[in-house]
């Protein structure tokens, strides 16, 4: 894994404006300049291929891609859409044009911005800003999206003018401007099943094993293990493939609700070397700044810091850490039934924006609070615009059921911009590669071909996924209800909680940015928001993460 930062200028421009970025070894070839900041693998523009590519476990036609020459060959053959695995690349296709691309699901990131007649791009926002060519001005609508989703979906970043290349897209840069096209689409699903349930189950099992194989490191496998079905099945499959498996669970202390008995049961069943990492609340908050500085776009998921610390812990033992991310978006996770019910109770679900509003509520973050949370002028500027990017998905003809539309949105939005984005950026500083076999592209394509009623069957979520691995795990793990890895933020931040005073102090710093209504912040910290399930703790965390991020990036409104 590496980071790259490049500045490309049009043929007619002189290259002297090229900035050196980070640990840079700039190369200037002809009319365009490239600066690269290697983190682990050294990635330099190859003068012969005019290509820079960073990749991890990429495959074409069941063959591992191991050289830049292979990349050049497949690019020239127009076969980028057939590549499986994580990658980000820039290719000077002709002397007059440059092509940028990332993998289909968002395992790697590329950010870019136009600067005069040129284009600057990098694998992190930090590097892009370090070019010195852009101001770190906040984009208000993206800010509201962050508060709504706890991540930043779509092509926007929190900075004005700086964009993220969406997964599965090509950006072609030439004298005629920028042209973005999708080289990959999520498969649609219409009509009746074409196979029996047993056949779907067998296909899925095979797909899971192939996804694991594509990510196998040399030697032992290391994997996070929450005790939920997704991480448990990854561990069980790992044990089938390697005799030596190390597993890691997170704990925040016995005083809080946890899933350790389940992860312990899976570890014993699969005979792994199991370790529980316990984090005190103070340790989590103390590492917030470090974690947020890695992220580019902020993520307001309380698991961000524990994930970061886990990568740090594992980095001395392995260069790959498996996880169970992706099971929910691909196989009918817990958002679906709630959305179906909300849809059922809508007076006019077909009316413009109704389902979109419900979806935004389903994140259970700050969407309902935005009007009183944000400064009035800020709220007026973005009011009514949050749902627009969702509408094409809810109106898509590619799917004939709400379940499949939701799955598509969850894969594209949450999968790409939260789940994969998070593990990619948090692991990078430690030189660890995150392996997310349940978010394997081939497996995602396979999952979208499975009838929705085999994903959410009755009230059973992820039914077909569970059945595909039933022989590998105890029924008590397979059939347990979804719990999710709980970070006890309600207990930590409530008045009298161990982090209340610290959080209050930090949130008071938000007044510097003139984004939030001080009265709202005071009510939040007094635990007086009111309403059903106000989720004070989750909102405090989202704002703490933002405050940390604002400082790290010296962002201005």
């Amino acid at each position: 894994m590496a980071s790259l930062s490049l500045l490309w200028k049009k043929q007619s421009d002189r290259p002297e404006q090229v900035k050196r970025v980070g640990r840079v070894r700039p190369r200037i070839a002809g009319s365009w300049g490239i600066s690269i900041a290697p983190i682990r693998d050294c990635l330099f523009l190859n003068p012969e291929t005019s290509l820079v590519v960073e990749w991890e476990q990429c495959w074409l036609d069941d063959q591992a891609i191991v050289s830049e020459a292979q990349w050049l060959g497949l690019l020239k053959a127009g076969r980028l859409a057939d590549v499986l695995g994580a990658f980000a690349l820039a290719w000077r296709q002709t002397p007059e044009s440059l092509l940028l691309a990332t993998d289909a699901l968002g395992e790697r990131s590329l950010f870019y911005a136009q600067h005069g007649p040129g284009l600057v791009f990098a694998s992190s926002l930090e590097l892009l800003l370090k070019s010195g060519l852009f101001e770190s001005r906040l984009q208000p609508l993206a800010l509201a999206r962050y508060l709504t989703y706890a991540y930043v979906p779509g092509q926007e970043t929190l900075f004005k003018g700086l964009l993220e290349l969406e997964p599965g897209c090509l950006l072609r840069v030439s004298d005629s401007g920028l042209q973005k096209t999708a080289y990959w689409h999520l498969p649609g699903y219409q009509g009746a099943p074409v196979k029996t349930e047993t056949e779907y189950k067998q296909d899925l099992r095979l797909g899971l094993v192939r996804a694991m194989h594509r990510r196998l490191p040399d030697g032992a496998i290391h994997a996070s293990l929450s005790g939920g079905i997704d991480s448990s099945l990854v561990v069980a499959l790992a044990k089938q493939l390697r005799p030596e498996v190390y597993t890691y669970s997170l704990s925040f202390g016995d005083a809080y609700r946890h899933e350790l008995p389940f992860s312990q049961a899976v570890a014993e069943h699969c005979q792994t070397q199991h370790q529980v990492l316990t984090f005190a609340p103070q340790e989590i908050l103390a590492n917030l700044d470090r974690a947020m500085a890695c992220l580019g776009n902020p993520i307001g998921d309380p698991l961000t810091v524990p994930n970061f610390l886990l990568f740090q812990e594992v980095s001395s033992r392995s260069s790959v850490l498996f996880n169970g991310e992706g099971g929910d978006p691909n196989f009918g996770g817990p958002k679906n039934l709630a959305m179906l019910l909300a849809d059922l109770y809508s007076q006019e679900p077909e009316a413009k924006g109704v389902l979109e509003q419900i979806y935004l509520h389903s994140y259970r973050k700050c969407f309902s609070d935005l009007a009183e949370m944000l400064r009035p002028q800020l709220w007026q500027a973005i009011k009514g615009q949050l749902a627009a990017e969702l509408s094409p998905w809810f109106r898509s003809d590619a799917y004939d059921s709400l379940i499949n539309r939701l799955m598509a949105i969850n894969v594209i939005f949450k999968g790409s911009h939260h789940i994969l984005y998070k593990v990619n950026h948090l692991s990078e500083p430690f030189g660890v590669s995150p392996a997310s076999p349940l978010f394997d592209r081939e497996l995602t394509e396979l999952a979208f071909g499975i009838p929705p009623e085999l994903k959410l069957k009755g009230v059973c979520e992820k039914y077909i996924l569970k059945e595909a691995v039933r022989d590998l795990l105890p029924d008590s793990i397979i059939d347990r209800p979804k719990s999710g890895m709980m970070v006890p933020v309600e207990h930590w931040f409530k008045p009298g909680g161990p982090l209340h005073k610290l959080a209050k102090k930090r949130l008071a710093q938000l007044e510097h940015w003139d984004i939030f209504e001080p009265a709202y912040l005071k009510r939040l910290m007094k635990w007086e928001l009111g309403g059903y399930q106000p989720r004070h703790g989750a909102k405090v965390w989202i704002l703490l993460a933002l405050e940390s991020w604002l400082r790290a990036y010296d962002a201005k409104l």
């Binding site: 706890a150 998921d301 309380p302 929910d328 996770g333 817990p334 958002k335 039934l337 709630a338 959305m339 179906l340 019910l341 909300a342 849809d343 059922l344 109770y345 007076q347 679900p349 419900i358 509520h361 389903s362 994140y363 259970r364 973050k365 059921s401 709400l402 379940i403 929705p452 009623e453 959410l456 069957k457 009755g458 009230v459 347990r480 209800p481 979804k482 999710g484 709980m486 309600e490 635990w527 007086e528 009111g530 309403g531 059903y532 399930q533 106000p534 989720r535 004070h536 703790g537 989750a538």
Partner: protein, 235 residues
């Protein structure tokens, strides 16, 4: 007896408020029955719920739905007759087929109200024999702790009501005496307790219907902000 604000008086105050300011944003307007379109019925038929909150009166259903209780708890909310759904045939057929359905019942402490769980257990056409009906109250026991809120029954006792406590022949306690936030939180907690116990114990069905429901709704202090715990997004 505490003074009651009857509906037409409340409507008058709301009109005054609306005249002076504007219509309150979160005001719950009695809902029209929902006509579920064929496409949504098809989706409903493919999936299922494992719990329903049955409310005695439509305005209670409107209240829970307006607060997205159905979404938070992944449950249906309706009256025994199927409100707010206009077409109930397919819905009822679906519900009849759900053997492991837990039906939570919420009603006034009144003769009519306390009969509702009995009706659901014995007569409701959409309840399967295997479904579990859990009476959340208000019961006679609850009412005894809410004496300031009693008011007179408006209908006379029927002959088969003799098994009910004497005071129910004369008085009732309206569910609306419970502050809205407490009602949401405590019913929500009830459903969560049910799910946890069901997952933890196979003998749950025989043991749950004891004092658990009473413990949830029988409180002496009606003040306070309620319970605020919540988890993360749906995944």
């Amino acid at each position: 007896m505490a003074p009651f604000l009857v509906n037409h008086e409340l409507d008058k105050y709301i009109q005054l408020w609306t005249y002076a300011h504007q219509k309150p944003q979160s005001l719950i307007i009695p809902g029209e029955k929902l006509a579920i379109e064929a496409s949504r019925l098809k989706e409903l038929n493919q999936y299922a719920v494992d719990k329903i909150l049955v409310c005695e009166r439509p305005e209670m259903v409107d209240f829970f739905v307006a607060n997205r209780f159905h979404m938070e708890q992944k449950c249906l909310v309706m009256t025994a007759g199927g409100y707010p759904f206009q077409e109930t045939d397919l819905l009822f057929e679906k519900l009849r087929g759900l053997a492991k359905l837990a039906i939570f019942v919420l009603h006034d402490a009144s003769l009519k109200g306390v009969k509702l769980p009995v009706y659901l257990r014995k007569q409701a056409p959409w309840v399967s024999k295997q479904a579990q009906v859990i009476d959340l109250g208000l019961s006679a026991e609850h009412a005894s702790k809410l004496e300031d809120y009693w008011h007179h029954q408006t209908s006379p006792a029927a002959p088969d009501d003799t098994d009910y406590p004497e005071w129910l022949q004369h008085y009732k306690v309206h569910l609306a005496v419970i502050p809205p936030l407490q009602l949401l939180n405590r019913v929500g907690r009830m459903l969560n307790m049910y799910a946890q116990q069901r997952d933890a114990s196979s003998s749950f069905e025989s043991s749950f219907e004891t004092d658990d429901a009473l413990a949830v709704l029988a409180w002496s202090n009606l003040g306070g902000a309620g319970d605020n715990d919540g988890d993360g997004d749906f995944g």
